[in-house]
Amino acid sequence: MTETESKVVDLLAVFSDLGPASDAVEHLRSLGVHDDCMNIISGVPVTEAMLGRPQQWTNVPRIAMGGALLGLGAGMFLAFVTPFLYPYPIQVGSQYPVPGPPTVVVLFELTMLGMLISTFVGVFLDSFFPNYRPMKYVPEISDGKIAILVECPHVEENKITDALKKLGAESVKPAEAQHL
């Protein structure tokens, strides 16, 4: 295989509607483009099922669960350990040093705090936010267009471009990374 043949190009096809975009995804697959070589970019959350795309993997729920456990651990430290770190014991009414109901409150709040902070951080980690490097994108996407970013061998560029145009793409261009 020559260097030109092995060169990979990115094409950005912009569609105005969901229907043609989902047809295009299916057609690209029949042309031998693997799902991993496609990415859909849209201004609204279009689900994978609508476009016939494989389910997106997300670590957010797992990270959230991890954060909840960390929060619970922090709560347990506060509730079960700190009462014994005082140089002298603190008595509140007739309560035990680790009283039941107040401990529930502390554990609940810190578990939720841990879970919610880690959910937020999870979005950043999974999406590689913040990312201010040049990226392949066109502003029309936030105007409601749907773009398919296709990675294909250079030799198939024309074939795929023609196919996408036939399927209703408003424009098909080699994608160029630019500062957003």
Partner: protein, 481 residues
């Protein structure tokens, strides 16, 4: 036959079930191209402020600087003697305002999270406006509690780490639970505000130049709208929507325990938790509808996004919440009245016949009589200014309620020789300062942040359509997720 058909059509039009009627009435059935909606939201933000805007902003800034920060400096310099708090009224307006602002903040979560979980479609255009209220309301609540703290520079002692004297916070105290709950709620509601804002920041980034471009670009974090980014965002927003509801409930329940955990007449009530939550929702919804009425009346294109149907829907919620509040109030009152405890009886008598009884009756009028009198009527509750007026009244009523619970109830205790009517001092201007800061922050946000989540509106419009069942046209909603 033709005559019958004409009659049927006339009947159809008379009842307003034509497609045009639906489109005028429902935002979700009246879609515009996404680009046009983006333009409208950007224009509403970028519109050059009128002289009235600057006059109001200048006036509010003066109030914030003088009434809030300067007076706070005076309070710090001279001590809590500047305030009217002294035996037995150690808890005064600062705590009234703390409870009040936390209550206001509940509307954001209620509208955004609960209505999202239950897929109430009318929520879509105003979730952000409500979420902003949550964050800005909690800022005022934080300020109010710090004012009450007195030696505010020692606030870090509340943090769970051992200070110089090796003292950890006392986790037996409801006040420490408050710190945990309010901190959790402030952080989580701010994150919950920010997550759905990211796509709109990206939209604003694509349409801005100059410093605004840098601002939106920074906050958009490089969001493009890829499948992965949406999937992570969707997952996170679902987790937040479910998880923030119990956090919201816990916050005001814990605030109520600040009172209910004390063995005082009028405070030691098992129903205070839900009573406070319903009260918070009551004032929060009132504030939300007021904000919506102001946004709709003052900002360009907002009459497209915020329509009579939204006031009607919120009006119904306000009516239900008002009824729930009346139920909890009566429940709380009834048990105390029936209990026959001498001090509680004196306190209830003081509420109803004391020098501030106008506040007690005002509370019932603003929280129950007025909302019920106006909101039962679909036409009235669809009128923005009228529902906004009810919103103001409810907030006045709910402020009265907190005033009655805090300084008025504190006046009556089991030691009659300490009874003294609370006379607020520096708390009054400082409280006004928090109101001014809330409005000022909102005005600034309205010029910087897209108040309408355009992508959520478009998503809703994609899901809605009109269907014909025989001769009847009905609204149909698809489950897109």
């Amino acid at each position: 036959m033709a005559n019958a058909k004409q009659k049927a059509e006339a009947h159809h039009d008379h009842h307003g079930h034509g497609e045009e009627h639906f489109r005028q009435k429902h935002l979700m059935l009246d879609p515009l191209p996404r680009g046009r909606m983006n333009e409208m939201v950007m224009e509403s933000m970028l519109e050059k402020p009128t002289w009235k805007f600057w006059v109001v902003a200048g006036f509010l800034s003066f109030i914030v600087v003088y009434f809030l920060f300067y007076k706070w400096g005076v309070l710090i310099a001279n001590g809590q003697g500047e305030a009217g708090v002294m035996r037995p009224d150690y808890w005064g307006i600062f705590l009234v305002n703390t409870v009040f602002w936390i209550g206001i903040s509940h509307a954001g979560t209620f509208i955004s999270a609960i209505l999202r979980v239950f897929r109430a479609e009318f929520r879509r255009p105003f979730t952000r406006a409500a979420e902003l209220m949550t964050t800005f309301g909690l800022v005022q609540a934080g300020f109010s509690i710090f004012m009450h703290l007195g030696r505010v520079w020692l606030a870090y002692w509340l943090m769970p780490y051992p200070n110089q004297r090796m003292l950890w916070p006392n986790l037996h105290s409801p006040l420490t639970w408050d710190l945990l709950a309010i901190t959790t709620y402030l952080l989580s509601s701010t994150m919950y505000l920010f997550l759905p804002l990211i796509p709109d920041m990206a939209m604003a980034r694509d349409r801005s130049t100059g410093w605004r471009k840098t601002f939106y670009k920074t906050l958009a974090l490089g969001f493009r709208g890829t499948e992965g980014e949406w999937a992570h965002l969707r997952n996170a927003m679902n987790i937040f929507a479910f998880a923030i509801i119990p956090v919201m409930f816990s916050v005001h329940t814990i605030v109520s325990w600040d009172f209910a955990a004390a063995m005082r007449p009028g405070w030691h009530s098992t129903i205070f938790g839900p009573y406070f939550i319903v009260g918070a929702l009551h004032s929060g919804m009132g504030a939300a509808v007021l904000v919506l009425a102001v946004i709709r009346g003052t900002m360009k294109h907002m009459d497209y996004f915020i329509r009579a149907e939204h006031f009607d829907a919120i009006g119904k919620l306000m009516l239900i919440i008002s009824m729930a509040w009346a139920y909890f109030f009566f429940n709380d009152y009834m048990v105390q009245w029936y209990g026959g405890d001498m001090w509680t009886k004196i306190m209830l008598h003081y509420h109803e016949y004391g020098p501030l009884n106008w506040m007690w009756f005002g509370m019932l009028f603003c929280n129950v009589v007025l909302p019920w009198a106006i909101l039962w009527n679909p036409k009235w509750r669809s009128t923005p200014w009228l529902v906004g007026f009810v919103g103001i009244a409810i907030n006045i009523g709910m402020w009265f309620e907190r005033y009655i619970i805090v300084p008025i109830s504190v006046t009556i205790n089991r030691m009659p020789f300490t009874w003294r009517q609370y006379e607020p001092g520096i708390e009054v201007p400082m409280g006004i300062g928090t109101v001014a800061l809330f409005i000022l922050l909102y005005m600034i946000a309205s010029k910087l942040i897209p108040l309408i989540p355009v992508w959520e509106v478009q998503e809703g419009q994609m899901a809605h359509e009109l269907k014909k069942f025989g001769r009847e046209t009905v609204v149909s909603v698809s489950e897109l997720e």
